[in-house]
Amino acid sequence: MGRGYIVQDDVEGYLSKLCEQKADPVTGLLIGQSSTQRDFVVMAIRTPQKEESAAAARNSVDKEWVTEHARQVSRMLPGGLSVVGVFIITDADAKDALTTLRQLLYAVENLISSEHLWDPADDDVTDCVTLHINPKTRKTVCRTFDIKDPKSVAKPADWKYQSGLCSSWATVSCSLNVDMLLPLPNNRTSTGNMEECLKEGLKAWAHQIESGLCLIDGKRLPEDSELTVGQRRNVRQTYTAQLLITTENKRLTDVIEQCGGSVSVTGVIHSRAYLHSNKPKARLAEKLLKRDVVSTVATRVQMMLEELLASDQESKGSCRDKQQKELFCLPHRIFCPLKVSGPLCVCDYQFSDEGLSEVTERLKEMLDIDAAEEDLDTRQEMTFEITGCDITPEPTQEKVEAPEHKKNYIGVAMATVVALLATAASMLYLNDI
């Protein structure tokens, strides 16, 4: 018995338009939500063109490029939306197409899940979908693979279009306060070391969030209870969540250690998750929201670190003896509604030295969305006003950094990613089947 994918009908039009383009092959990602009974696809996104690619190169699939695109896209999806599959539009042989799709799918999913700070849950759906469309015949072949099993065989799946799919999806959201203080090791306070400390600290914090108590609309619901979703079409269903956490790890010995400094992450972030309308359970709402909380903080910190490494901040004066305190504004989260009716939005992170035009450019490049600046929702989070900060008096050493940006966002990120994950990336591809 195969899976059944219910797809927003806009996707059909989008894929159709891609078929009419001259390029072959065209690859892309499928975005949606998978549940145990049914799977939903809300959006398809073509892989962006690589600028420098020669005409010949355009006819082959650049696996690394597709994977990197997927990684960037997954950062722009709020909770509940994820990359559930890949598609290819080509008139090549069906078997070859399937092989390519399979390789892409595993590479994409493995990269995305390797960045997660949470453990997979027992009730996670591990099937992902591949779609092959022949641009001339418009014939569609839909198959699923079990990502957990590298030897999985292709299973046939249904692909059905439906209108108004997301109109009655629900939104669970919260504003969450982050307050982390971590020591930096002695004599090793470079950005690279800071990254290590932050990763460890984030993992411990993510565990606290995962084991926290979740209240929905002020109530503690039994896990299997259903949220009342989809009963009233075209009416916004929104739920507010509260998270209560405790400290689990006892630390009663070795309580003072030497350090080379400290790093802290503080502030309030906005987190949200979308739930399909087919009788979602409270457990799902809790899981998706918690994952969004963890990934939005981790993503921003990661983005900040990538910027610092790329703009080579460390070469600036090493005055080890004096106290050096630097403040970095983490990018703030902006939401952009999808054209489909319903509450769904994608998101992006805006650094303090960027304008909204850069955000709309990225939305176009990464997600192939045409958004106007007026469409963007920038009011969910606060930006930092850098006016007379009250940092400890060491006037010559004070710095408030807003790292510089380059236009070709994916290009910069790509370079940094290669620097950071060189070994990991090569291992990833070597393990392909």
Binding site: G212, L215, L243, L252, V263, V265
Partner: protein, 469 residues
Amino acid sequence: MVVVDSETATVLRVKGLLEFRCQLDSTDEQLVRNVISRTFETLRSQVKSESCVLAVSDSPVIIWPNKDAYATPEEITPSTLCEDMHQWIQADEQESSGKKSSKKKSKKSSVASVINLRLMTEVTKPGPLSAPILTKTVLKSHFVSVTLPLDCVVCTGRSDTIKDACEQLIEALTHQLCEMEKVTLQNMKGMTLLVPEPVHFLLPEPKGLVTVVYPVGVPDSQLVAQRKELHQQFELPDDRPYFRRANAYHFPNEPYKDGYLRNPHLALTHPTLDNGKVYLVQGIYSYHHYMQDRVDDNGWGCAYRSLQTICSWFQQQGYVELPVPTHKEIQQALVDVGDKQASFVGSRQWIGSIEVQAVLSHLLGLTSKILFVSQGAELASKGRELANHFLTEGTPVMIGGGVLAHTILGVAWSETTGQIRYLILDPHYTGAEDLQVITDKGWCGWKGPDFWDQTAYYNLCLPQRPKVI
């Protein structure tokens, strides 16, 4: 169950770990103390803020004590009585999602019961949004990272509401943080810090439950001065310990990890004699009997087991730190003092009161009195002596004679009529740690003078309390 004081209906106990983190910029003592104090102050404001949450264990009830005791589920209001909270607390196997059926079984209504709460922090709170920032400080310094184990107890009366309880709980938590700050600063030496840890003690009425903050890792022997102060503060006699770590109060709903039953005699109804009074063992002992610890001592180990019960008493009252000795260790002790040959170890030979006295002296450093009766019938006339023993020493008594050994845990004695009953703990029991069976079948029970072999002679070993705090 323990009566805390006659006014208390419910004891609320809140436990939780609070993270204490700060960076020490300099090693100058005063500056360090300032930073530590400031960090404690931050924690105190956290406890008094709206993000402080109390979750009732084994129940769906969650309370925000600083939001006028707002609670969920909505049936709980600030004016709900504390003792009504029990209806929301589920026993082990049930799901904690709703109210229990109203069939409440309250065996002893004069006894206080304990409600456990967990201290939690709400990280999602509406309010002023602050932008997310990352701050990096580069400075060779020290980093302090501790988890403070908060543990407060508050006693509420019958008419106390949730709101009253919240006020008391928050006050107790902030007070405990102040105590912890004091103990931390007192015990700071250079760049080492001892973690403060709360311990609860049940003092004789009317003082009730008291919480003391001790530094972790410091043994009782180094805390004599603190204990002296506490004895003075609470006007306690200075010849018996109340504040050693072993004296810590054991809450009724916490199981003992070692599996032995504690004070099974508390489940009995005591006899009423004309003009008679009941004199019982004071404090806590564990019930040791045949076949425990995978030692098959059926038929020969009764005196050993009685001795183990006595050792367990001295350990739990804080007089000794030595764990309860095994049969072999007892036998080895007797060889070491020259009372037995080396071949005694590993044998199944019986011991008597004299040997018990010798072991208590050699292994635990205790003195004991020996009482001799030439005939079992004479025991009936030892009422006054036994009553006095339980009044002043309050230790369990080992009695050996005929072919049996037993433990006497108390007497019921009438000065006028001379009637006497003995509270006996029988080490010959071979079954499981089932309180029902043990009390129903009389393995722990009140016996009359005819319990003793009327013609045999008996020796009693009466262990004496050392006069220490």
